[in-house]
């Protein structure tokens, strides 16, 4: 043992001892709470007398704002109504052929012939299924909200870039804007701006500007110092340095911000349509889904997916095009393409009066896919009903219920086929303790703690865990992970949930989110690991992942509801189908970018492919994989709210109920609750990453 080892040993031992005693205390406290809760009712449910009427405060505040500032907001509404009307009218007035030409030209410029062809075919699909007008209504909103969000986001980004203090202030605002569920915005906007398409616009701008701010800051900051210094040494003034050096050098990242903003805007436009009143494509999906006309909602959902893919590829293609500057070429070389497109569009507009076919898509060219689709779906469901139900029931009975209400209540003759006997419990307790003891003997204290806690949670159930026990476990965990700051933050977050009376619903959300995140993470990283080893698999999965990511998550509800009806299980599936993608991508990226030398060294030592994967690649890719977990949590919680549409009973549902009942306070508190859960989970992940880095650098603990 070298001297350094000797010196390092005592503190590690002390730390481990602390870990052991601290957790033992927390676990004993939790056990005491569990046993005492039958006699002490306040342990079970947080006493109502200690709750604060936050909901009423919010409502009163909102009433006050409406009473005093309504006129301001209504003026804004008026100001926006006209330009929105113009854009909408223009899109409707343009002959379909002209619009298709413009979009194809943009696609061609951004990515080339293949994307142009894809665009043309997609738009023809929209025409054929007869949803052109609805699609144009949605696009009109996107076309006007994207420039607003981009401008606002860019301005804020530049401001945040130029002042560290502003950036510090901006960050939590952006976090909240991105994590508070979209539905929670809709109601206050509805109350302030009045019923109408402006709600969709405002909500979409609010939801879409944060990625622009973040990417602008990132892009401006990332410019290598060599480039900035060379600009300074060329004698640039401050303005020149910004506009001629920093901005163009960071342009790619900023354009990626435009891409993300566009996608967020489309997503929000679709969600906003659920308040109705706009005959757009999102409404088409939702209303048909409510009537259980799944064929029609699939047809309309595909329109949304295609629109999303076109917008994504075109804006992303623009970002990718680095340096095709044509500064010293002629006017026609520079603008010729667009002049030709403009001329062709004008020709089409003129020709429309001669050849009406160019203007309006003929009725008899439309095809009704909805009916045959409906029949096919019916057939499928009837044929596979036993199988589908078996899957659904076993997941609900054996996984979801125990985690929700605990083994003590979930095991019943109706679900598991037998009633829970004391000896069952005894076996469970003994096996958990044995597992923990084995982990302890192997020196894996953290694993032992996790085993005991997991056993406890699984036996009692997340929603039936006494609240002081949950608070103690989470706050102590926060303290171990991130010190006083994270512990305080966690305590404050949980206090908010308690005093606003959202605790029970929040635990339901956490239950669903935990399951969904675990499942998404396991599935995503496993598939990602396979994809990293197998090029063919990676190739097949890439377009699938891209599609699932670019689609407004709302669309993912259609197939799951179709197959499994409404309920928690359906929500779980919908969340997984959206949230597994980041886990997949980060795992594959992490494994594929493991240092080549480490892999070669291990191969030369004689590692088998499996050893190479488990002992070299995975540990090295761990930070990336954890980043994937972080993203999966964010995606999962975002989708949780949208999944409320298919019947959950958690905070997400509360947001939705608040919206439909016009109760601002109720919806908003639930929305903040969701945001708090998301942000806290994010901080835990970041704390883990920080610990991991310091451990690697300093070798502590």
């Amino acid at each position: 043992m070298s001297q350094a080892d000797v010196a390092a040993a005592p503190p590690t031992a002390v730390l481990r001892g602390g870990l052991r005693w601290g957790w033992s205390g927390v676990i004993i406290f939790a056990l005491v709470c569990v046993f005492a809760q039958t006699s002490l009712g306040w342990l079970k449910t947080y006493p109502a007398s200690l709750q604060l009427p936050v909901e009423a405060w919010f409502n009163a505040g909102m009433d006050w704002i409406i009473a005093n500032f309504r006129a301001v907001f209504q003026t804004v509404t008026l100001l926006f109504t006209y330009p929105m009307g113009w854009v909408r009218e223009t899109l409707h007035w343009l002959p379909w052929s002209g619009f298709v030409l413009i979009m194809a030209a943009m696609a061609f410029k951004a990515r080339g012939v293949r994307l142009a062809a894809f665009t043309v075919l997609s738009l023809i699909y929209v025409l054929v299924v007869g949803l052109w007008a609805e699609a144009m209504n949605s696009l009109a909103l996107v076309f006007i909200s994207v420039p607003l969000a981009v401008l606002a986001g860019f301005a804020l980004g530049v401001w945040g870039y130029s002042s560290a203090r502003v950036e510090r202030a901006l960050n939590p605002v952006l976090d909240i804007a991105q994590t508070v569920p979209a539905f929670a915005y809709l109601l206050p906007i509805l109350l302030l701006f009045g019923f109408g398409p402006v709600v969709g616009l405002v909500a979409s701008v609010l939801f879409a500007f944060p990625p622009m701010v973040r990417n602008t800051i990132l892009g401006l900051r990332e410019v290598p110092s060599d480039i900035i210094e060379s600009g300074q040494m060329s004698g640039a003034t401050r303005a020149q340095l910004f506009w001629m050096v920093r901005f163009p050098a960071g342009r790619r990242q900023i354009l990626i911000g435009v891409n993300q903003t566009t996608m967020a805007s489309l997503s929000m436009v679709i969600i906003a349509s659920m308040i109705g009143g706009t005959a757009d494509i999102g409404w088409e999906v939702l209303s048909t889904m409510r009537k259980a006309e799944f064929g029609s909602s699939l047809v309309a959902g595909i329109v949304i997916a295609l629109m999303a893919m076109i917008l994504d590829r075109v804006t992303f293609g623009m970002a990718e095009q680095e340096g095709r500057n044509l500064e010293h070429r002629g006017f026609f070389q520079r603008y010729g393409f667009w002049l030709a497109v403009a001329a062709a569009v004008i020709c089409l507009i003129v020709l429309r009066s001669l050849l009406p076919i160019l203007g309006g898509w003929p009725e008899n060219w439309k095809i009704d896919f909805a009916q045959p689709l409906d029949q096919a779906i019916q057939w499928f469901i009837l044929t596979f009903k036993p199988g589908l139900e078996a899957i659904r029931n076993s997941v609900i009975f054996f996984v979801m219920l125990p985690l929700k209400i605990g083994l003590d209540k979930a095991v019943s003759p109706f679900t598991w086929g037998f009633a829970l006997q004391p000896w069952h419990t005894a076996v469970f307790v003994v096996s958990v303790l044995a597992g923990a003891a084995a982990a302890l003997r192997a020196g894996r204290t953290a694993l032992a703690v996790a085993t005991v806690l997991g056993g406890l949670v699984f036996y009692v159930g997340i929603t039936d865990m006494p609240w002081p026990a949950s608070v103690a476990i989470l706050v102590y965990f926060g303290w171990r992970m991130g010190g006083g700051g994270l512990a305080t933050g966690t305590a404050l977050a949980l206090t908010f949930l308690l005093v606003t009376g959202s605790w029970d619903k929040a635990m339901l959300s956490i239950h669903l989110a935990t399951l969904a995140v675990l499942a998404s993470f396991l599935m995503g990283s496993t598939l990602g690991i396979i994809a990293a080893q197998n090029d063919w698999f990676s190739h097949v999965m890439r377009p699938i992942n891209d599609t699932l990511q670019t689609m407004p998550p709302f669309v993912l509800l259609i197939p799951t509801v179709m197959l499994f009806k409404i309920g928690d299980f359906t929500a779980l599936l919908a969340i997984i189908s959206y949230a597994y993608v980041p886990a997949f991508r980060y795992a594959e990226h992490g494994l594929r970018h493991v240092s080549k030398e480490a892999v070669e060294a291990a191969t030369c030592i004689g590692a088998t492919p499996m050893q190479l994967l488990l002992q070299v690649k995975l540990p090295l890719a761990l930070p990336n994989i954890m980043l994937g977990l972080n993203q999966t949590i964010m995606y999962g919680i975002a989708m949780l709210v949208i999944a409320a549409l298919v019947g959950t009973s958690d905070l997400g549902q509360e947001v939705y109920v608040g919206l439909s009942a016009g109760n601002f306070g109720q919806g908003f508190i639930a929305g903040i609750g969701m945001a708090i859960i998301a942000i806290t989970a994010d901080r835990f992940c970041r704390a883990w990453q920080r610990n991991h880095e310091t451990r690697l650098q300093k070798g502590a603990s």
Binding site: P224, D226, G235, Q240, P248, A249, R251, G323
Partner: protein
């Protein structure tokens, strides 16, 4: 001296760096707010370090003469990049003076500074610092564009320097399409397009692979023979410094350890640190013909004549053909003795023992 204007011009100081300090930390000014800095330099630096400040440049002073290549050599973290950034004011020095043609750069207002940079300074960066969205032509013309020069003038000047660095034909390429060596040629062209008086090169060839680096050094020396700029050249490569320096400074931990010609440094290293660099250098590279000459003992009229200031290394082939010896002549044709195989070996042996009397 005064009645010799030409000599005066060649020796004139272009850039003078006086007692330059750069201190990082929460309150660097605190150490210089009285006039009392002239206390013991090492003591002050030590105190800064103890008080959580980092003195990156410590009391750096040197002069760069007109037309001279002045190299600052040091390992990473020695403060050489900080010094050149203080000279160009990319970093504001904590204390000291930087005199360009007698004017203190550190006192210039931002506006004046921009003027100085636009007309008097050029700088080349280790990682090139090219704008990825501009072509070679646009990158080179960029400083002129910032000055608002007409497009025609921009192009003419840019073409001139592009030709100088040998990139004609690649004007419309983007930096991403060029090799590292070509990118640095663009960087060099851009720094020369405003015809600067003083030329800063911050490790210009460090990012290139060895063969290209050697080629670029030759290219650089060729350009310098044409332009005769006053140059501050930063490098961490001792051999590179030897190849190109007229005079060089060696830096360590923020301080200049020694200033001198490459030969001075090798033959009279100021301390162990410098000696460790110089011990790596094959001595024969520095041995001049004059240094291994011995007085003629017989008739040397039949021997081939060689110049006294040439390198002894180049004589080996000739000595093999003429073992009797070579006649050494200085620039004026005066006889400086002869070189024989024996005298060459003797001189080399003396060098190996650190005997320094052979230096010229």
């Amino acid at each position: 001296m005064i009645d010799e204007p030409n000599a005066m011009k060649a020796d004139a100081v272009k850039l003078s760096c006086r007692n330059l300090w750069k201190v990082y930390g929460s309150k660097p000014d605190y150490y210089f707010d009285t006039s009392g800095y002239s206390i013991d330099v090492d003591g002050l630096a030590g105190r800064m370090r103890k008080e959580d400040h980092v003195p990156a440049a410590i009391d750096v002073s040197f002069d760069v003469h007109v037309g001279e290549i002045f190299v600052i050599m040091g390992l990473s973290g020695s403060g050489k990049s900080t010094v050149v950034r203080c000279l160009s004011r990319l970093v504001d020095a904590s204390y000291g003076e930087v005199l360009l043609d007698g004017e203190n750069l550190l006192e210039k207002s931002p506006k004046e500074l921009i003027e100085v940079r636009r007309h008097k300074m050029g700088m080349v960066f280790q990682n090139f610092g090219l704008l990825p969205h501009l072509t070679v032509m646009e990158n080179v013309a960029f400083p002129l564009k910032l000055q608002g020069k007409r497009l025609q003038e921009q192009r003419e000047n840019a073409e001139r320097v592009i030709e100088l660095v040998g990139l004609q034909g690649r004007e419309d390429a983007f930096p991403g399409q060029l090799s590292g060596g070509q990118q640095q040629r663009v960087g060099i062209a851009r720094s020369l397009v405003v015809e600067p008086d003083i030329w800063f090169l911050d490790e210009p060839f460090s990012a290139l692979d060895p063969l290209i680096r050697h080629q670029m050094q030759d290219e650089f020396l060729r350009i310098q023979r044409v332009l005769r700029k006053s140059i501050v050249f930063i490098t961490h490569d001792f051999l590179e410094a030897l190849r190109i320096a007229d005079r060089m400074a060696i830096m360590r931990d923020g301080k200049i350890v020694q200033i001198g010609t490459p030969t001075d440094l090798i033959l009279n290293p100021a301390d162990e640190y410098v000696a460790r660099f110089t011990s790596e250098v094959p001595r024969i590279r520095l041995l001049t013909t004059a240094a291994c000459a011995v007085p003629a003992t017989g008739d040397e009229s039949a021997m081939p004549q060689v110049p006294a200031d040439g390198l002894a290394e180049n004589l080996i082939g000739k000595l093999a053909e003429h073992p009797e010896g070579l006649s050494v002549r200085d620039n004026n044709g005066a006889d400086r003795g002869i070189v024989t195989p024996a005298s060459l070996v003797k001189a080399l042996a003396a060098l190996g023992q650190g005997d320094t009397h052979v230096a010229s």
